[in-house]
Amino acid sequence: MSTVDKTNLMPTKGAIRIEDVVKIYDPEGTAVMAVDHCSIDIPAGEICMIVGPSGCGKTTLLNTIAGFHGLTSGHIYLDDEILCGPGKEKAEPGSDRIVVFQNGALFPWKTNLENIAFGPMMEGKLSKGEIYQKARKMMVDAGLEGTEDAYPGEVSSGLRRRVEIVRALMNEPKVLLFDEPYRALDSLTKSVMHEALLEIYYKNKVTIFFITHDLEEAIFLGHRLIIMSSRPCKPKKIVEVDIPHPRDYSVLTSPRFREIMNEAKSVVNEEARKAFEAGEKEG
Amino acid sequence: MNINKLKSNFSMRAAFRGLIAIIIFIAIWEFGARSLDLIGYRVPFIGLIPPPTAVLDSWAGLVVDPSYWQSWYMSFMRVFTGFLVAMVVGIPLGLYMAVNRTFYGIAFPSFEILRPIPPLAWVPASIIFWPTQEMSIAFVTFLGAFYTIVINVLGGAKSINRQYLQAAQSMGASQADIFRRIILPATLPSIVVGSAVGMGITWEVVVAAEMISGGGSGGAGGGLGFFIWSSYVGGSYEQIIVGMISIGIAGYISSELLRKLGGRFTPWLKTR
């Protein structure tokens, strides 16, 4: 599917294949189907946007890839290697797939620099000096100079998100999993964050699995939109975003952007209404 | 949310595991306490206390003894007297401190200065002051619950979301309305929490006050604390443990009652 982006070099590692995945929750004897026979193919290096109403089960899908919980049936592959499936109930959480969380999960008791150095420190392959040197360099590259010794609680929420992304990249993952990371930000900060994310992405190509319910965000960032149906979660429509990378904010006003927006909007609205009428509590 | 999580985690397996630990605990206690007879060697510490079977035996004898139940009654009466007075005085005081800045400025520092003095340190002064022993025990009991209730009410009333007050004002509520319809209900959860903690402290205080006053002078005794102390003085060690368990049960029952009552007053806190 990477026909969209011929000019840019894509990494060879990090393709995700979700095959016929089903996830049924059984909390109080009443089975709830969160994910229903879902199949998605994400080539290495693609920014794949998963769009759907709140509480539709997108996060469930992300959590199974990350290895936070298992699935009921189906397979998930990372570069033809089974992450989870029959016989392997739950994927091991590991530093090849790193999650950037909805509410931000920087450790408030570590400074920004310590947070960024955390992953490699845990792996223990490099010396402390090397790790901190690399962490400082990464921070400078991401424009985070001067906030090294501040605690996450002392900096703005936008800056925190950037620190978190840098922290995720320190381990050189194959895949980044974003769980609506910009949900709580105001739209001005959001637009700055989007450009910053793309900038980081152009420097460090990884596969990005990005959950959102903001269409503008989805189209601006993604190579592809996968619009999910409301509970149970299942791909309903795939929209290719054929606007070439690198992108900046001028594309938002381009006619092509509007066209894609219109195409996606009707599908999304229909699903949102269904979810609203079902009265699901936001998760 | 957390409670729900705990509840859903509770399973037969959990109950089974808890039971195993309790059975092992009782078995060790039984064996340790009888070790001198069984293996001819007294296990340190546990070897000095009566075994659970002997405690049960002694308890079976006591349940038909009206003076045992009299002790229950006495302690319960003291706890509830002290506790009720603490509520009646503490809740308005806490609320008033929360709404009136000047009064807060005057009263709170003095309150904070007195608070670190443990309630039991008041026992002798209280005996000197109050004409009857009963009243002095009630006073110390009152103190135990009083500080906790005031602090919780104050904290609860101060942390009310300002937007509730602004919303009420914009809808034309008077000061009295705001107090009655916003501040009071919004503070209720803290009142419930404060009371639950206060109830625990009250039982602690009653036991000690009964031991110190009743046990010391041998005067107007009664109550479960006195029951424990006189069992100790009289050398019937089984009864000490019966007394301890009885107080545990009594304290548990009163906290549960309070929690049920609190739940009825704050129905909006129930999550599904």
Partner: protein
């Protein structure tokens, strides 16, 4: 260096704004009320019941006398001996309760299995008021020193363990998920996430713990024991040396306050991240 400077400036700022507010003056009005009520009711109006109470002037004359009538004032070494012995008992009990209660609470909160085994037993013993253990403690431990320390320990131990466990349960699951994602092992997650994450609750627990420690120490010293502040209060009552009762009470209040302030300072020192976060949020 800059860190201590900020703290310093913040303290100075708070000090000066406190002095400019009506707070300190109202505070002295409050103290004035309490003290003058004590003075007038006992010594001037001689209200019924009040006239038997130790008088304000009597208490302070005794307390600051070079040659105290009942043998106890700030100039007598005996006074400091009692304080020292009470402090030593608190020290032993608090140290032991912290050294055992914090690790136990951490493990109980961390491992569901351990919690399922141990917690019901813990909950079974907890409703028994610590002071009901007095006779049993005297029977089990010989001498008069160990039972008092045991009681004090028991009270602290329950408070510390319970709060530490609640602290672990309060940690947002995303923090441990993030740590696993970044390649941390279960043990590393415990050290880097569970322990610092529970820290605020642990220190709340320690504050409560030092309070209940004094609470039960006084009871223990009043019932048994040869020295200590609780002992002073009880003996003074029996020997009808009423002004000493009040000296004992005031001393207890002061020392109790100082010890809990020390715990708070230690907490702030160990949780710089939290202090700085709250300082920003507060202003």
């Amino acid at each position: 260096m800059s860190q201590s400077n900020t703290t310093m400036n913040l303290t100075m700022y708070r000090m000066s704004s406190w002095l400019k507010s009506p707070k300190p003056y109202l505070m002295f009005i409050g103290f004035g009320f309490v003290l003058s009520f004590w003075y007038f009711s006992v010594e001037v109006w001689k209200l019924p019941r009040f006239q038997d109470m130790p008088a304000l002037t009597e208490v302070f004359e005794e307390w600051f006398s070079k040659d105290p009538y009942y043998g106890l004032s700030i100039y007598t070494p005996e006074y400091y001996k009692h304080i020292g012995i009470s402090l030593r008992r608190i020290g032993y009990a608090f140290f032991l309760a912290t050294a055992l209660g914090v690790p136990l609470g951490l493990f109980l909160g961390w491992s569901q299995k351990l919690r399922e085994y141990i917690f019901p037993l813990f909950e079974l013993l907890r409703p028994i008021p610590v002071l009901a253990w007095v006779p049993l403690a005297i029977i089990i431990f010989s001498g008069s020193e160990t039972p008092v320390i045991f009681l004090t320990f028991l009270a602290s131990f329950f408070a510390t363990t319970l709060n530490t466990m609640l602290g672990v349960e309060s940690i947002d699951e995303e923090y441990s998920r993030a740590a696993y994602c970044l390649g941390a092992s279960r043990w590393q997650t415990f050290i880097h996430v569970v322990v610092p994450g529970a820290m605020p609750f642990i220190f709340t627990g320690l504050q409560i713990s030092i309070g209940v420690a004094w609470f039960s120490l006084v009871a223990g010293e009043m019932v048994s024991g040869q020295y200590g502040l609780g002992y002073i209060i009880n003996t003074a009552y029996i020997m009808v040396q009423y002004s000493q009762i009040v000296i004992g009470m005031i001393t207890l209040g002061i020392i109790g306050y100082v010890t809990s302030a020390l715990v708070r300072v230690a907490g702030d020192y160990m949780m710089q991240w939290r202090v700085r976060e709250l300082a920003l949020g507060g202003d």
